[in-house]
C-alpha cells in the first residue's frame, strides 16, 4: 500500500473544515474527478472553498469539474524531514499548479517521477489521482509532466 503513494502514510489525513468546507471536493476525488468551488451567480472560481463568493458576496456556491490540466506556478524540493513518517522519503517535490480552466485557481500536490528531476515554472502538468485506502479512505490529487 505504501509503495503506491508518493509519500509514505503517516502524514495528517485531509478532512473537511469543521464548517464542512471541502466535503464535495474530497468526495469527488474519491471518484477521480477534480472539482473546484464556483459561484453559481457570478461564475467566479475560488479556492480554497469558502462560505460565500469572494467576488460578489453570493451564497449560491457549487463545485464544477475541471480538466485536470495546468502549469507549474511555483515549486520546492524538500530535503529536510520535518515529520517522522518522511525520514525515508527525502527528497520530495511539491508543486503549486495553476489550473488551465478555473480562473487563476492554484492547487498544491507532489510532482510524480524522479525526485531529483529538474523542475521549471511554466511546465505543463496533469492531475493524477492517488488513492489512500484504509478505515477513512481518501484520494489525493498529484501531478505529472505532460
Amino acid at each position: 500500500m505504501t509503495d503506491d503513494t508518493y509519500l509514505p502514510r503517516g502524514l495528517p489525513d485531509p478532512v473537511p473544515s469543521p464548517e464542512g468546507l471541502g466535503t464535495e471536493y474530497w468526495a469527488a476525488t474519491r471518484n477521480h474527478k477534480l472539482v473546484v468551488q464556483r459561484c453559481q451567480d457570478c461564475r467566479t472560481w475560488q479556492w480554497g472553498p469558502e462560505i460565500i463568493c469572494r467576488s460578489c458576496g453570493g451564497e449560491k456556491l457549487g463545485y464544477e469539474q475541471v480538466s485536470g490540466k495546468g502549469t507549474i506556478f511555483s515549486w520546492q524540493r524538500a530535503w529536510h524531514p520535518v515529520h517522522a513518517s518522511l525520514k525515508d522519503a527525502m527528497p520530495y517535490i511539491v508543486v503549486l499548479v495553476e489550473l488551465a480552466d478555473a480562473g487563476k485557481v492554484r492547487m498544491i500536490g507532489n510532482l510524480l517521477g524522479d525526485r531529483e528531476q529538474p523542475v521549471q515554472i511554466g511546465v505543463s502538468v496533469e492531475a493524477v489521482f492517488e488513492d489512500h485506502p484504509g478505515d477513512h479512505p481518501f484520494t489525493l490529487v498529484q501531478w505529472r509532466k505532460t
Binding site: 509519500l7 495528517p12 478532512v15 473537511p16 469543521p18 468546507l21 506556478f73 529536510h80 520535518v82 498544491i108
Partner: protein, 400 residues
C-alpha cells in the same frame, strides 16, 4: 492630509534580554525567562517594575499578562493586548499596539514582551502536531507541506523566478548576519563565522533555502518598555521615538498563512509589505533613503530580501547587484542589515531582538554601530499575514 498619529508621541526607554540559548538549552522555564527579560528592561529604563501597567505581545504568547502582573505585584493592570497572527509577523505590530494604548490614555507604562522555550514547548522547525489536516490544511499537509520553510518557500521561488534573483542574493543576507554576530558576544552564533563556501556546501532544507537561509530555533526572552514621549527623559537621556508603524497585509492573502487560500492570493510573490511600507513611511514623514539602518526579520532570507525590496530599499531589477555582503554590513555598507546578527545568527527571539537592536543603534550602543544612525527601520515576519513594520527615530519632532 494625515490624521493625528502616533508619530513622535511614544518612546522606547528600556530594553531587556535574557541570555540567548540554542533550542532546549535554557536552564529556566519560559515564564521565568519572560519575567527576567521584563525586569531587565525595567532596570534599563529605571522604571519600578511595579509601575508597569500595560502589556503587549503577539503570536499567541503563552506568558499571559494576568499571571505576570500578579507575580510581579503590579499596582494596576490597565491594558493587555495581543496582536493577531501566529508567526513573528506581528512583532512590530505589538510595539505599535503598545504605543497606541499609551496614546489613547488607557495606560502609562507598557512592556512589549516575547519569550520562547522550544525545549519546554513545541519546535518551529518541525511539522505542526495535528492528527488530521482540516479544511485549509487538508489541501497542503498531506503533500508534505508542513513546516514554515515549506509553507512559505514557494513564494520565494516564485519571486526569484519573476525577477531573475540569484542564490547569491540570499547568501549575502546570511553572510551579513553572521558577520555581524561575530562582534556580538550575546549572539548564539558568536565565534561561528560563515563563509560563502560553507553556505554553498550546506544542505538544503527545502530548495531554494539552504540551512543558513533559515532562522535558528532558540530559547530566551526579550522585552522593551514604552512611555509617552513627554515622560521619556525622566527615564533616559537617549529616548528612541516611534515615528511610524503599520500592521496588516495586501488584499486577500488567505485565511491562514500557509493554507491553501494563502497560495491563491492574487499577489502571490509578495512578502506582504506593499501596502504597509508606504503607510509607515508616510506616517513617519520619511523616504526610504532616509533609513540609516535596517533590522529585518529573517524567517527565511528570501523573505527578508522581498521585504527590503517592498520597503523601497532596492529596485527589483537591481537585486543581484545590490545584495552583496559589502552593502549589507556595518559600518560602511549602503544598507547595514541586522547588525546584531538577527534571527539567523544572534537569536530567533521571534524578531523582538531585532527591534531591540534598532533601539541600540539609535542609542549608539550597537556592537556593529552605524555612525550617526538617526532612523532605524524594523520589519517583522515577511511572507506571513499580518506582517508589521515600524520606524524608530532619535528625534521626535522634526523631519530628518
Amino acid at each position: 492630509m494625515p490624521r493625528d498619529t502616533i508619530r513622535g508621541k511614544v518612546a522606547v526607554v528600556g530594553i531587556g534580554e535574557t541570555a540567548y540559548y540554542k533550542r532546549g538549552q535554557s536552564p529556566h522555564s519560559e515564564f521565568k525567562l519572560c519575567l527576567d527579560a521584563i525586569r531587565a528592561a525595567a532596570r534599563d529604563a529605571g522604571v519600578d517594575v511595579r509601575d508597569i501597567d500595560g502589556f503587549s505581545s503577539y503570536s499567541d504568547d503563552r506568558n499571559d499578562a494576568m499571571r505576570i502582573s500578579s507575580v510581579l505585584d503590579l499596582k494596576e493592570l490597565n491594558y493587555c493586548v495581543m496582536q493577531w497572527g501566529g508567526g513573528g509577523g506581528g512583532v512590530m505590530g505589538a510595539i505599535a499596539n503598545g504605543a497606541a494604548g499609551i496614546l489613547a490614555g488607557y495606560c502609562d507604562t507598557v512592556v512589549v514582551h516575547r519569550a520562547l522555550a522550544q525545549g519546554q514547548f513545541g519546535r518551529f522547525g518541525q511539522a505542526m502536531a495535528m492528527p488530521v489536516a482540516p479544511g485549509e490544511w487538508g489541501h497542503v499537509m498531506p503533500y508534505g507541506v508542513l513546516s514554515a520553510a515549506q509553507l512559505f518557500g514557494m513564494r520565494i521561488t516564485r519571486f526569484m523566478h519573476e525577477h531573475g534573483v540569484q542564490q547569491s542574493a540570499l547568501r549575502a543576507i546570511a553572510l551579513a548576519c553572521y558577520q555581524h554576530a561575530q562582534n556580538n558576544p550575546r549572539a548564539v552564533m558568536h565565534g561561528k563565522p560563515l563563509t560563502a563556501d560553507l553556505y554553498d556546501q550546506s544542505r538544503y532544507i527545502t530548495e531554494p533555502l539552504h540551512l543558513y537561509d533559515c532562522c535558528q530555533e532558540n530559547d530566551g526572552a526579550a522585552a522593551l518598555i514604552l512611555v509617552a514621549a513627554e515622560r521619556a527623559r525622566e527615564f533616559t537621556d537617549k529616548p528612541v521615538y516611534i515615528l511610524g508603524a503599520a500592521t496588516g497585509s495586501a488584499p486577500a492573502q488567505g485565511a491562514t498563512a500557509g493554507g491553501i487560500s494563502y497560495h491563491n492570493a492574487p499577489d502571490y510573490a509578495t512578502a506582504n509589505f506593499k501596502t504597509l511600507a508606504p503607510r509607515a513611511y508616510r506616517m513617519a514623514g520619511i523616504e526610504p533613503n532616509d533609513v540609516d539602518v535596517v533590522q529585518a526579520y529573517e524567517n527565511f532570507s528570501g523573505g527578508t530580501l522581498m521585504a527590503l525590496v517592498e520597503h523601497g530599499l532596492c529596485e527589483p531589477d537591481a537585486i543581484n547587484h545590490f545584495f552583496v555582503p559589502e552593502n549589507l554590513t556595518a559600518p560602511h555598507g549602503k544598507l547595514p542589515l541586522n547588525t546584531s546578527g538577527g534571527n539567523l545568527a544572534e537569536c530567533y527571539m521571534h524578531g523582538l531582538e531585532l527591534a531591540i537592536e534598532g533601539v541600540r543603534q539609535l542609542r549608539g550602543e550597537s556592537c556593529n554601530q552605524v555612525q550617526n544612525a538617526r532612523i532605524a527601520l524594523c520589519i517583522g515576519g515577511p511572507l506571513v499575514a499580518p506582517a508589521s513594520t515600524i520606524i524608530f527615530g532619535t528625534d521626535a519632532g522634526t523631519n530628518p
